[in-house]
Symmetry: C2
DNA sequence: CCGGGATGCGCGTCGGTGTGCCCAAGGAAA
DNA sequence: TTTCCTTGGGCACACCGACGCGCATCCCGG
C-alpha cells in the first residue's frame, strides 16, 4: 500500500491530536468525514498506526534529568547478553536500551529526578545488572530535539 | 496536587489507550464515569498529560535502523552552540538531540532506512551542520527497551 | 465505452459527554 | 460528642455529536 499526501497529513495530524474526531480531521486534511474514516481505519489495520497514547510530562513527575549510560559487558556471549537484557528490562528508571555496535555493548537512557537520584539509581538498579564490566554515564544538559517521528516521514506532505 | 493510586492507574491506561472513553476507563480503574471525567480533566489541566498522540510504526515506513551520533564542536562558545542547534532542528532524520556533559558536545538519535541510507543522511544532513569538529556514529543492533514513560512513574500503582 | 476505486452527501442510530443533585467519609471546630 | 463543612464519589438524565451505512457521483485506466 502506498501512502499519498493526504495519508501523510492524517498521520501528521494524529501524531499531534490523537483524539481528533473524523469531522475535525477531515476539515484539516481536506476530505469528507467518511473518506477520512476509511483511510484512518486502513492506516490502523495495516499497522502504520501502532497505538494511541497519552504523552505525559515527565517534568511534572520530577523527572527532569536525562542520563545516557554506556555499558560494556565482560563477555559478548549469547548467554551474557540474554542475562543482561533480562535484568535491564526490569529497571524502572530505564526508558530505552540499545544493543550497540562499536566499543560499548549497550546504551541506556535513564530518567532521574536529579543527580543525587541518579546516584541512587546507579546503586540500586544499574550496579545490580549482571555481567557488566564498565559503566560510563553522561548527563544531558538540555534536550534540543525530541520527536516521536522523524520529519522525513512526512516529507512531501508538509509543503 | 498529589496523585493517588487511581490517578496513576488512569495515566497508565491512557498511555496505552489514549482514545478510551470515560466509561471504558472508569471500569478499568474502578470509578464511575463522572468521577473519572473529573480526574482526567484535572490531569490534563495541571499538565500531567501533555498531549494525546498516535504512535506510528516506523518500521512500516522503512525506518528500521537507529543510529547514535556523537558530535563534538570546534568551540563551546554560546554562539557556536546556537548556530549548531539552529541547524540540527531542521535535520529531518534526527529524532532526538541532547546537549551533553563530558567529551561529546551533542548526541543525536537518527532514524535511517538502512546503512546506505545513513550514508546519505551523513552526507546531506550531518556533514552540513556548522562548527562540527568530530562526528562518531554507532549503529543500534537491536532495541531492548523502548518506553515513553519510565515504570518508576507508575511505581505504587502496579501493586 | 465501460468498470473499479475513491469521494461526498445524507441520514439514523448509538454512545459519549457534561450537568445537576444527592450521598458518604473525613476533618475541624465548638 | 456533636455539628458543620469540605472533598470526592455515584446516579440519572438530556443533549449533542460522532460514527457508520447506503447510494450517487466522479475520475482514470483499460
Amino acid at each position: 500500500m502506498a501512502l499519498d499526501r493526504k495519508d501523510l497529513a492524517i498521520l501528521a495530524e494524529l501524531t499531534t491530536n490523537a483524539r481528533a474526531s473524523h469531522t475535525e480531521l477531515a476539515n484539516k486534511v481536506g476530505l469528507s468525514s467518511t473518506a477520512l474514516a476509511r483511510r484512518q481505519k486502513a492506516l490502523e489495520d495495516e499497522g502504520y498506526i501502532q497505538a494511541y497514547q497519552a504523552a505525559l510530562d515527565l517534568a511534572q513527575f520530577g523527572l527532569t534529568t536525562t542520563v545516557l549510560v554506556r555499558i560494556a559487558l565482560e563477555s559478548q556471549s549469547d548467554e551474557a547478553l540474554k542475562a543482561f537484557e533480562a535484568e535491564v528490562v526490569k529497571c524502572p528508571s530505564v526508558v530505552r536500551c540499545f544493543l550497540m555496535s562499536g566499543n560499548d555493548d549497550y546504551i541506556l537512557i535513564v530518567m532521574a529526578r536529579d543527580i543525587q537520584d541518579f546516584e541512587r539509581i546507579h546503586r540500586t538498579e544499574l550496579s545490580r545488572l549482571p555481567r557488566v564490566a564498565r559503566v560510563q554515564s553522561s548527563f544531558a544538559l538540555r534536550e534540543v530535539v525530541n520527536r516521536a517521528v522523524p520529519n522525513v516521514v512526512f516529507g512531501e506532505a508538509k509543503r
